[in-house]
Symmetry: C2
Subunit: 99 residues, 2 copies
DNA sequence: ATTGTATTTCAATTTGAACTAAAATAGATC
DNA sequence: GATCTATTTTAGTTCAAATTGAAATACAAT
């Protein structure tokens, strides 16, 4: 699958963000979404197949974490997006405080 | 629309590539695709709304050109993709020549 | 070995984005 | 203004990707 299309999907992007700098179990990831556990698991499978996440078994659970290196130049794009999103949020707050 | 989703669509990416460093009329762009003129025009509209292309009227025609600056960091990603695609093509040729 | 929790996988359904075909608009030419 | 070419827009269709719900698998604990 095309790397760009892969990370363009909003839920997959959210998953990458959630496990960007920490490990989370599949269930913990899923609890952040409105869609079913099954749907999240399928997104995880797609991310796994693209090697965009690393998985580690720990007892019952499977711990996921973004493989930032594997994302190559796309990693910077994602970080950039999230940063600018936060910035625009900050601007929104500033503006509303001015009123 | 989300910038990443926008450039993830293969036909839109192809449009951006076609008018990356030259102007082309909508019909000239469309002639490079299997899909109908209407479909290409819709993609152009989406790219226009995102300001990822500049348009200029010239008589009957509308000349399109990628607004590379507007793409920000995504411009580098696209150029990178196309470069590596060419590289892998070159490798393919080499390999087949070896046989 | 059975029960429970965590996760994946599968078949069927839903949904949304891309597409088509046709009508509408825009400007050029006669 | 009628006609031609270029393009956009609209309504309806198609298709792939995302989702659901349920069954299957995996490991842990009793």
């Amino acid at each position: 699958m095309d790397a760009l299309q892969l990370i363009a999907e909003p839920n997959r992007r959210m998953i990458l963000r959630l496990v960007w700098d920490r490990e989370l179990a599949a269930s913990e990831i899923a609890s952040n979404f409105d869609v079913t556990f099954g749907a999240v698991s399928q997104h995880l499978a797609i991310l796994r197949e693209a090697d965009f996440v690393k998985v580690r078994r720990h007892g019952n659970k499977r711990l996921y974490r973004t493989d930032i290196a594997a994302l190559g130049p796309l990693a910077a794009i994602l970080e950039d997006m999230w940063r600018t999103t936060l910035q625009s949020l900050a601007i929104t707050i500033e503006v509303s405080e001015d009123q």
